[in-house]
């Protein structure tokens, strides 16, 4: 079976930017998320994770910055992906605009809450 492929010109705009964003951020998240999962879910495991584990992990700056990058890129990638999936089922201009706003607000809330947690956390006394 032979297939014919054809190159097409894609208009450059926000959607083209979002399409590229998914690919560039995907490479970065592939590294950040897999290391995170390997350490936290497989090697350490949830049975060893508690408040003092978090305190030890966020004792220095490295893992705080790492976790912030993972939060920002993975969550932005996931929210945009959700937007792209749902936009396939919402066909009205107004519906898509509402979708974009709802997801943007949700994105902002979760990123802000997560970022505050990562950088403001201090180990409990004692």
């Amino acid at each position: 079976m032979t297939t014919q492929t054809k190159r097409v010109e894609v208009p450059q705009g926000w959607e083209a930017f979002a399409w590229k964003w998914m690919r560039y951020s995907g490479v970065l998240i592939f590294i950040l998320a897999w290391i995170h999962v390997l350490i936290q879910d497989i090697l350490v495991g949830v049975y060893q994770i508690d408040t003092s584990y978090v305190a030890a992990r966020w004792n220095g700056g490295f893992w705080r910055v790492y976790d912030f990058l993972l939060l920002f890129f993975a969550f932005s990638h996931g929210m945009n992906g959700t937007r792209q999936v749902l936009a396939d089922y919402i066909h009205s201009e107004g519906g898509r605009r509402a979708l974009n706003w709802i997801l943007l607000i949700l994105w902002a809330i979760v990123v802000v809450v997560g970022t505050i947690t990562i950088f403001a956390f201090t180990p409990p006394a004692g």
Binding site: R7, W34, D50, A74, G114
Partner: protein, 133 residues
Amino acid sequence: MSFKTASEGYVRYQGLGNWAFVLHRLTGLGVILFLIIHVLDTAAVYFIPSLYVDAVALYRSPVFGLGEILLVLSIIYHGLNGLRVIYFDMINPDMWTIEINRKSVIWTWVITLVLWLPAAVVMGSHILEHLGG
């Protein structure tokens, strides 16, 4: 258009490449749903420390443990299939043929399972060790 007609459309356009696309979306949606919950439960460690202890206790239950094993499967598949799509789209678009697509989807699943099975064994043994307290 309802979800029903849209999903029927996906199923009718068969082929492994399309299943890879559908699974990429489903695993992505599953992971982002977990990620929202995960950021909020971790936020408890700063905002409501006593709630963080409860959240971790919930994650240690066997049902959540099994969910975690499926989460890891979703992350491995979504990551590998994502790299496959990125390579095709950004570096070598000539590989977007039915035959190469089909073979690469099979390889994606082979590698996914090879990586996931040992992870599932380790995580599963952690669950078994902690059964009943």
